[in-house]
C-alpha cells in the first residue's frame, strides 16, 4: 500500500506539471516534447504503468504497456500541446473557440455527453493534419480505462461440493455447491501515465450453476452470492439456503459454475463501465442411489 501511496503522491505532483505543459507550447517545446518513444521506449512518458494490487495470498503485479500507432510504432500517449492519443494516429484535445465553431458548422452540435475534439495527426503531430472527432469519454481516461480493464485478473472459480468428491452424490439428497474463498470478491487494476491514473474494478454479481436433468435437458439455477459452505453437523437432508441442486436419477452429471463480473472504472475526472466478464469452472459428479443405511455387504 505504501508504494501505491508514494506513487499517487508523485502522480499528484505530475498533474501540475502536465497541466502547465498542456498550455499552448512555445516553439521550442519542453523536455518531454522531445521524447521520441520509438527511440526511447522505456521513457516513462511512453509507458502506461499497469498494476494490480495483491490479492490475499498473492503478490500484486506491475507491468507496462505502450501506445502504438497504426504501424506498431511506440508513440507517446500524451503530447503536450496536442493532447491524448486517440488510437487512430492522432492526438486530441477538446475543441474550443473557433475550432468548436468550425466543428459544429461542419458536423452539427455533438450529442452529450459527447463533445467535439480537435485532433492533430502523426507523430510528431503535424499542425497541417487536423481532424474533428466526437468522444463520449475523453480520450485520455478512455485509453487508460481500456488498459486497466485489460489488466484485470479474475480468479478461476474453485468449486466446492457437499458431499465432497470423491464421495458420490446421492439421488434425491441435496447437493450443496459453493465457491472457494478466493473465487469471489472485488478485483482491481490500475493504469497510469504521469499525471493521470484510472482504476478498473470487477465485482462478482452472479453465480450460475448449470447441470442437466436425468432426461438430458440443461438445468441451471442462479445462486445468491458465492453459495453457502457446508459445515459438518448440518442436516444432510436440508438443501443449501443459497446454491445447490437435487439430482433425481443416478448417473454422471456435468456441473458448471459461471461467475459474472460487472466492470466499472474511474479516474481522470470521469467514470464509466465496461462489458461484463465471466469466469467458469466445471467438474463431473457421480450420482448413486442411496446406499442402504447401516448395511455393509462384503
Amino acid at each position: 500500500m505504501s508504494r501505491l501511496n508514494r506513487r499517487l503522491a508523485s502522480v499528484a505532483a505530475l498533474v501540475f506539471v502536465a497541466s502547465v505543459l498542456s498550455m499552448p507550447a512555445p516553439a521550442s517545446a519542453g523536455g518531454w516534447g522531445k521524447v521520441d518513444c520509438s527511440k526511447e521506449p522505456t521513457n516513462p512518458q511512453c509507458l502506461i504503468e499497469v498494476g494490480t494490487p495483491g490479492a490475499p495470498g498473492s503478490p500484486g503485479s506491475k507491468t507496462t504497456s505502450t501506445c502504438k500507432d497504426g504501424i506498431g510504432r511506440v508513440v507517446p500517449c500524451y503530447v503536450p500541446g496536442a493532447g491524448w492519443y486517440g488510437g487512430d494516429g492522432c492526438y486530441y484535445q477538446p475543441a474550443t473557440g473557433t475550432d468548436l465553431a468550425a466543428a459544429e458548422a461542419l458536423g452539427g452540435v455533438a450529442s452529450p455527453p459527447g463533445r467535439w475534439y480537435v485532433g492533430t495527426c502523426g507523430y510528431p503531430p503535424t499542425a497541417s493534419l487536423t481532424r474533428f472527432r466526437v468522444f463520449g469519454t475523453p480520450p485520455g481516461p478512455q485509453l487508460l480505462a481500456d488498459e486497466a480493464v485489460r489488466a484485470l485478473r479474475l480468479p478461476q472459480p474453485v468449486i466446492r461440493v457437499n458431499p465432497a468428491p470423491p464421495a458420490d452424490q446421492i439421488v434425491h439428497l441435496p447437493t450443496w455447491v459453493w465457491l472457494g474463498p478466493q473465487s469471489w470478491g472485488r478485483r482491481t487494476a490500475t493504469a497510469s501515465v504521469p499525471g493521470m491514473s484510472v482504476t478498473a474494478t470487477a465485482t462478482p454479481v452472479r453465480l450460475v450453476l448449470s447441470t442437466r436433468t436425468a432426461g438430458g435437458a440443461s438445468a441451471s439455477v442462479t445462486c445468491q452470492g458465492p453459495g453457502t459452505a457446508w459445515t459438518p453437523g448440518r442436516d444432510a437432508s436440508s438443501p443449501s439456503p443459497t446454491c445447490g441442486h437435487r439430482f433425481t436419477a443416478p448417473g454422471s452429471y456435468p456441473l458448471q459454475v459461471t461467475v459474472t463480473w460487472n466492470v466499472s472504472w474511474a479516474g481522470g475526472g470521469v467514470s464509466g463501465t465496461a462489458p461484463a466478464m465471466t469466469t467458469t469452472a466445471a467438474l463431473t459428479l457421480r450420482v448413486i442411489e442411496e446406499p442402504a443405511l447401516n448395511v455393509r455387504t462384503r
Binding site: A25, P26, D69, A82, A105, T126, V134
Partner: protein, 186 residues
C-alpha cells in the same frame, strides 16, 4: 423479423477491423519533434460543409437503396455500388444474395434517422467522415415465398455507425455496422 439483424455481426467486425489503421505516420522518426503548437483554426468553408453533407447523403442514399433492392427481392447491386464500396458493399450485397437464395423479400419501410457526424478528416478539406445513427425495422419485415413473415429475430431500433470516404471524387460508405435491437441511444 428484424431485417437488419443479419447485418449486425459481420458489419461490426468490418468496422472494428478498420479502426486504428488509419494513421499515416511520417515515414521516418524525427529526432527532435517540434511538438505541434495548436493547429491553426481549421476553417469551416462552404466547400467543407458541402463535403460533409455529401458524405451524410451517401449514407442515407445507401440505406434507402438497400431497402428498395430488398423489397424488390433482387440481388442487383448497381444502386448500392453508387453509394458504397469495400466491406460495406460486400455485406449489403451478401444480404441481398442471401434473401434471393432463400426466396425471401421484405415489405414495408424502415425508419432511417438522419445520422450524427462524429468524425471529420481532414478538417479543412474532408475526405473521411464517420457517422452514427439509428434505424428502426419494426415496420420492415421479411416474408418468405409463401407470404409468411420470416422468423429470424426481433425488430426495433438499432444503432448504426458508418465510415464514409471520398473515393475518386465520390463519397462512398466504406464500412457499415448495424447493431442489435436496443442499441440506438435515446
Amino acid at each position: 423479423m428484424g431485417t437488419f439483424r443479419w447485418l449486425v455481426g459481420v458489419a461490426l467486425v468490418a468496422l472494428l477491423a478498420l479502426a486504428g489503421c488509419t494513421s499515416k505516420p511520417s515515414p521516418k522518426p524525427t529526432p527532435t519533434p517540434n511538438v505541434s503548437p495548436h493547429a491553426p483554426s481549421p476553417t469551416s468553408s462552404p466547400d467543407a460543409r458541402a463535403e460533409v453533407q455529401a458524405a451524410v447523403t451517401a449514407y442515407m442514399n445507401l440505406l434507402n437503396a438497400f431497402v428498395a433492392a430488398s423489397n424488390a427481392g433482387t440481388d442487383d447491386t448497381t444502386d448500392l455500388a453508387r453509394y458504397a464500396t469495400g466491406s460495406a458493399l460486400e455485406v449489403l450485397a451478401n444480404g441481398l444474395a442471401d434473401n434471393k437464395a432463400k426466396g425471401e423479400h421484405t415489405q414495408g419501410t424502415p425508419g432511417i434517422d438522419q445520422p450524427r457526424v462524429t468524425e471529420i478528416a481532414p478538417a479543412s478539406a474532408p475526405t473521411s467522415v464517420a457517422v452514427t445513427g439509428c434505424v428502426d425495422d419494426t415496420n420492415w419485415q421479411t416474408y418468405n415465398s409463401s407470404g409468411q413473415v420470416g422468423n429470424s429475430g426481433p425488430s426495433g431500433r438499432r444503432g448504426t455507425s458508418a465510415k464514409i470516404e471520398k473515393r475518386e471524387g465520390a463519397w462512398k460508405v466504406t464500412s457499415l455496422a448495424i447493431r442489435g435491437v436496443g442499441t440506438c441511444p435515446g
